[in-house]
């Protein structure tokens, strides 16, 4: 949890120092620290890639939207 707080710069300096020390001597924690950063980066990249895909709204959906807009306007 401290890893997350440190990434958000919400951890106190003393906490960050003890986390740094812990990560030096805990290889698994160190590995996990890097993995959490990767997970966050991948989540953003995945969403960006999906938003740039060539998926399109169906014509039927567009027609429904036009009708709703006309009815509401």
């Amino acid at each position: 949890m401290l890893l997350e707080q440190q990434a958000d710069q919400s951890a106190a300096k003393s906490m960050s120092a003890s986390l740094w020390l812990h990560l030096r001597y805990c290889p698994y924690c160190n590995r996990y620290a890097k993995q959490t950063v990767l997970i966050a980066e991948w989540a953003k990249a995945a969403a960006t890639a999906r938003a740039s895909s060539d998926t399109a709204l169906s014509e039927a959906a567009k027609q429904r939207m036009r009708e709703r807009l006309a009815a509401a306007g």
């Binding site: 989540a43 960006t48 959906a61 036009r66 807009l69």
Partner: protein
């Protein structure tokens, strides 16, 4: 430059596809994405008088859609209780990952190396697996994770949107990441 005058009847054709793709990149099903786009158009229509043309029509619609997506996450998060005790009911807890006696990783949950993660899986495949893993998170964790790491809202903004205390927020983020790591490894990451 002459400010453009919004023509609502043209929105589905001019901006529908782009808004839909954006919505679909944030929610898991096409029906919800479609609803979000429709709600965006209707809200824009309601607020047409407030459109100042300082931003483009497209930018304005995207701002409205992003707000709709945050509202969607908030509804998603509220399908589960948010008290610290109740967080334990929303999926695995630290006890599933760490030895309660010394706080170290349990043998079965020790993080494996992802040294060749990018090589092991095609990027597209990695994105699909991550999306599936995100869908499997308990609703509240999924919403918090997406708001923080996809929408890039601050911890403070998320706590405000979801009515979470700071302590609850950090527990939720931590558990979401623990579960995502486990899920990714189950689906092939690190097994190379």
């Amino acid at each position: 430059m002459t400010p453009s005058i919004p023509v609502p009847a043209q929105w589905p054709d001019r901006y529908g596809d782009e808004l839909y793709r954006f919505a679909l990149s944030r929610v898991s099903d096409s029906e919800t994405a479609e609803e979000l786009v429709q709600e965006t158009f209707l809200s824009a229509l309601d607020g047409l008088a407030t459109f100042r043309a300082e931003a483009s029509e497209r930018t304005w619609l995207f701002v409205i859609l992003r707000r709709k997506i945050i509202d969607h996450y908030r509804r998603q998060a509220r399908t589960t209780r948010v008290g610290l005790d109740e967080i334990n009911e929303g999926g695995p807890t630290e006890a599933d990952f760490f030895n309660p006696e010394d706080g170290h990783w349990t043998n079965s949950q020790t993080p494996v190396s992802w040294l060749n993660a990018d090589a092991a899986l095609e990027q597209q495949e990695l994105h699909e697996i991550l999306a599936r893993c995100q869908e499997r998170l308990p609703p509240q964790q999924g919403a918090v994770f997406a708001m923080r790491f996809v929408e890039e809202l601050s911890a403070e903004e998320i706590c405000q949107e979801l009515g979470l205390s700071s302590a609850n927020y950090w527990v939720i983020v931590h558990r979401a990441k623990l579960q995502l790591r486990r899920c990714l490894e189950k689906h092939g990451l690190g097994k190379n």
